[in-house]
Symmetry: C2
Subunit: 244 residues, 2 copies
C-alpha cells in the first residue's frame, strides 16, 4: 500500500513506545529515519528494510520515504519522542504536496517534556510551554520573545535543544532572560539526560544554579512556575493555586 | 509490594497506551481511577481489583490508593492522557508526604495535545503551550495573563477543558483575548472531539470562526502560530521560519 506513517517512538526504550506504534512498525515494509533512531528500533524489527540519512538531511529523508512508498510499499518514518513535536510530521505534509497519491497518517508518541517530567516527579501538571533553544530554523529574537512571554505568564517551561557545541551559552542566556522577566532565582528546576535510554540521569536545582550548569544536546530542561516545589528531590508542581 | 504507579493510559483506546503502561497495569494488584477511565481499561485487565471515586474526589482517590498500597499491594492510579499533564502525579506526591513507606513511580502517556495534533495533521511541531480554561483551581486572571503571553510569543496553543456547562463562553473569551493580543483572526485553528475514542471527529477553521464555535468538555482546541497553514484540511505548522 502506498502509505507513509510518521511514527513517534518515544524516548528510546522499546517498551516506551505505544502499542499502536509497535504494531504500525510491524506492519510496514520499510522504516526510514535518522541513523540514531534506526539503531534504537532495529533489533525489534529485524526483517524490515531500513533507510536512513544523517542529521540535517531531513528533506532528503522525506523524499526517500515518498519514493519508497511509491513502489507500493508501506513506509514508517520514525521520530524520537512524538512525530508532531519537533518531529517530521509537518515536513512530511509539506514534501507530500508533490506526492498526492500517497496517504499520510501520524502515530503519536511520548515527547521528552512528558517522559522527562515522569523522571523528575511531576514538574508540568498544569499550564506549560515547550521552547527549543535551537536557532537553526528560528531566529534568536523570536526564541527570546517566547522566553519573555513564558516568564510573564508564570508558565512551567520545558526547554528542548538547550545546548550544542556552537550554542554552549544559550541555556545561560535563556535563564537570564527568564529571571529578568519575572522568574525568581530560587525557582525549582530540573534536568534529565538520556531519557528512557541507557545512562539516564536527573538532577533538581534552582534557576540560579541552572544558569551555571553545563548541559548537552541529550538533556531536557524543566523550569518550574512560582508554585513548583522540591519535595525530597522530586520536582512537583501543584495542580492549581488553591490549597489541596 | 507497597508501591503506587501513576499511569497515563493515553487518550482511551487500548493500543494508544505505551507498552510500559500496559505491562505495569498487568503487574498491579489493584487499579484506582475516575469511573470513566476505569471503564476504558476494565475489559483488558479483568482479573484486577478496581477502585474508583467520582470526579472532584481526587484527594479521596489518592488516599484510597495509598491505603490499598499499605496492604502490601501494588497499585496503579490511572489518568487519561499523561499522568503528569493535568493528571494525578503531583497530587500523589503531595498526599504521599503522609505515606513515606510507599514508593511512587510515574509512567508517562500520550497527552491530548499530542494525540489530538496527530488527528489534525501537524499543528504543534515547534514551540507551543498548553493552557487549561478551567478556573476550578486557577484564578481566571492568571489564565487570562497566560493567554496574553501565548499570543505575544506567537506560540501555537492547545487549550484543555475549553468549555463546560458553567463556563459556556470561556472559549469565546479566550479567542477574544488571543486576537486582542496579537493573533490574527485568520489564524488556522482546529478542534478534535473524543480523541482516540468512539465518535472521534475533527475540524479546521479560522480563529474568528473558532470564537463562534460551541465545544464541549471532550474537545481539545488548537490555535496555530502565524506560520500555521491549512493544507487540504490538515493543520500544519512548519518546523521553522526559514524556507524548507
Amino acid at each position: 500500500m502506498n502509505k507513509i506513517y510518521v511514527v513517534g517512538i518515544g524516548p528510546g526504550a522499546y517498551e516506551k513506545m505505544t502499542i499502536e506504534a509497535a504494531e504500525t512498525l510491524k506492519r510496514c515494509d520499510c522504516i526510514v529515519g535518522y541513523d540514531v533512531y534506526i539503531d534504537l528500533v532495529r533489533d525489534h524489527f529485524a526483517d524490515k528494510k531500513f533507510l536512513s540519512t544523517p542529521m540535517r538531511k531531513e528533506v532528503e529523508r522525506c523524499v526517500m520515504a515518498f519514493d519508497e512508498a511509491n513502489k507500493d510499499q508501506t513506509v514508517a518514518m520514525i521520530c524520537s519522542g512524538d512525530a508532531g513535536v519537533y518531529g517530521m510530521a509537518s515536513l512530511i505534509y509539506q514534501v507530500g504536496a508533490d506526492y498526492p497519491e500517497t496517504e499520510i497518517e501520524i502515530i503519536p508518541g511520548v515527547t521528552a517534556a512528558v517522559s522527562g517530567a515522569a523522571v523528575l516527579g511531576a514538574p508540568l501538571i498544569h499550564d506549560f510551554c515547550l521552547i527549543s533553544l535551537s536557532d537553526l530554523l528560528t531566529p534568536w529574537e523570536l526564541i527570546e520573545s517566547r522566553l519573555k512571554a513564558a516568564a510573564a505568564g508564570d508558565f512551567v517551561v520545558s526547554l528542548y535543544n538547550p545546548s550544542s557545541i556552537k550554542r554552549h551559552d544559550y541555556l545561560q542566556k535563556a535563564c537570564d532572560i527568564l529571571m529578568d522577566y519575572g522568574k525568581a532565582p530560587e525557582t525549582v528546576c530540573g534536568i534529565v539526560k538520556m531519557i528512557g535510554r541507557e545512562g539516564q540521569s536527573c538532577e533538581t536545582m534552582t534557576l540560579a544554579e541552572l544558569r551555571d550548569t553545563k548541559v548537552d544536546m541529550f538533556t531536557t530542561v524543566f523550569i518550574g512556575n512560582s508554585s513548583t516545589m522540591n519535595m525530597n528531590g522530586k520536582m512537583v508542581t501543584p495542580r492549581g493555586y488553591k490549597n489541596v
